[in-house]
Symmetry: C2
Subunit: 271 residues, 2 copies
């Protein structure tokens, strides 16, 4: 199955538009796992076991593994998801963007070394830096458009020819970069009006929507403005709000509850 | 010493504005090193020994290590440069850009795990995603401005309020992001007119200039348009043109010659 098929399937089977961000920080882990070998993986494994019925995707953030010298934990985590919940796609959040020969190496990293189903990429350098990812027709390529962070407007909101830079990205993705039908966009939950607007521009493209939970995005608006006409088309990511919902040895159950509650909250707005 | 001091010092001591890009690809290595344990590092070590008198910086491209499951080789390479040529700064080319909490993890990766002197970053997501790097006042933060690849104009050349996006980046870097005096810009050698223009906008900021050699940039124009008023201020990177100058077992001597020749060619256009 392609990423797009896998995502559609998992959304339907689990009746869920929720993605869990697997961004574990060693110092924030419960004491019962912190000292274990491969502590980040052990933490993730328990979270995955507890949430696999409530989510449509997992999204490990590569920086947490790279910054903590834990590449092996990332590999173990993705392998475990494929084994434990093979119907759920893995989005490797790396936000890569580099010249063609280098982007080819990054595509190897994401799709061969780590066996991810999809990857996030940065469009600043233009089409030839995205092509080595987009050429993998079975993989998802999720392009930063309007990001959730406070200063995302520094460049993304500059107005060029009557359209903001993020609108140009949405239109380039729709009209030029989606030749394999595997492109998607990142739109932050913290900018619901922009989410509504990009949905108008791109009625059929999936959106990865981070920024609910710790970053404060409004779930109701995300669902109402972000869903496509089939009531799907968004992947709502929560990281800290789920993985740290309970900081005791019951963290996994707490994460399971938080994921189910977010799924149910999202579904309550889906008519 | 800060990155900026180290770079100034190495440029003067070696009378060089040349940076060697350490982007080894296993299948392209000479047979005599290809099968060794830590082949990428062994290749790099020989290149470093042969070029250390002719360069002002080294720039390993993280993708080549990440994509070939060779993080250890990257660590060994940077450690070796610090030991063998402690006066020469290491620019870790990663082009990161992510929300604050994640960028903090990437800064740990670059500055703690790998002990780089400088890092490349992507400005698409705005100031708060660059701040975790810029706050390290002793480290260099080299921001993508006008990149060397063919489609870099897709976003970078959009005109907003009379200025192209890459000009906005140059002005933001100059006026708002350089609060610690540690910001620099990436300008591709393949766009010499833009290089001249950004030098006018930012007379005192160092530029990392990739794109000579395999990508075809014109060295004379890079030097004439890129240097600051002291005849410094540019770091001209060549990767494939130096590391693959000779593909036999004499590869290291070939790289040394290529680095020296590029240094001398660059210097022939200075003052």
């Amino acid at each position: 199955m392609t990423f797009m098929e896998k995502l559609k399937h998992s959304s339907q089977v689990n009746r869920s538009l929720v993605c869990v961000g697997l961004d574990p920080e060693r110092t924030k882990l419960p004491e019962c796992v912190r000292e274990k070998e491969h502590a980040l993986f052990e933490f993730n494994r328990a979270i995955i076991d507890a949430t696999a019925d409530w989510v449509c995707a997992y999204k490990p953030q590569a920086a947490y593994y790279a910054g903590q010298n834990a590449d092996e934990d990332l590999k173990l985590t993705i392998d475990y998801i494929h084994e434990r919940a093979p119907e759920i796609p893995v989005i490797l959040d790396v936000k890569r963007g580099d010249i063609g020969s280098t982007a080819t190496m990054y595509a190897k990293e994401a799709f061969e070394r780590y066996n991810a189903d999809a990857v996030t990429v940065n469009p600043y350098m233009g089409f030839d830096t995205l092509k080595p990812f987009l050429d993998h027709a079975d993989k998802g390529v999720i392009i930063l458009c309007r990001t959730s962070n406070p200063n995302s407007g520094d460049l993304q909101n500059l107005v060029c020819g009557g359209k903001m830079v993020y609108e140009h990205v949405a239109l380039l993705a729709r009209d030029r970069w989606n030749y394999n039908g595997n492109a998607a966009l990142v739109i932050g939950a913290t900018y619901p009006e922009e989410l509504r607007h990009v949905r108008e521009l791109c009625p059929d493209m999936p959106f990865l929507v981070p920024g609910v939970g710790a970053q404060g995005g409004d779930v109701e608006k995300v669902v109402k403005f972000g869903c496509d006409r089939t009531g799907h088309g968004i992947v709502i990511n929560s990281s800290r709000g789920i993985i740290y919902a309970d900081k005791t040895e019951n963290f996994a159950a707490g994460a399971g509850n938080a994921a189910r509650e977010l799924r149910d909250l999202v579904n309550s707005f889906r008519d």
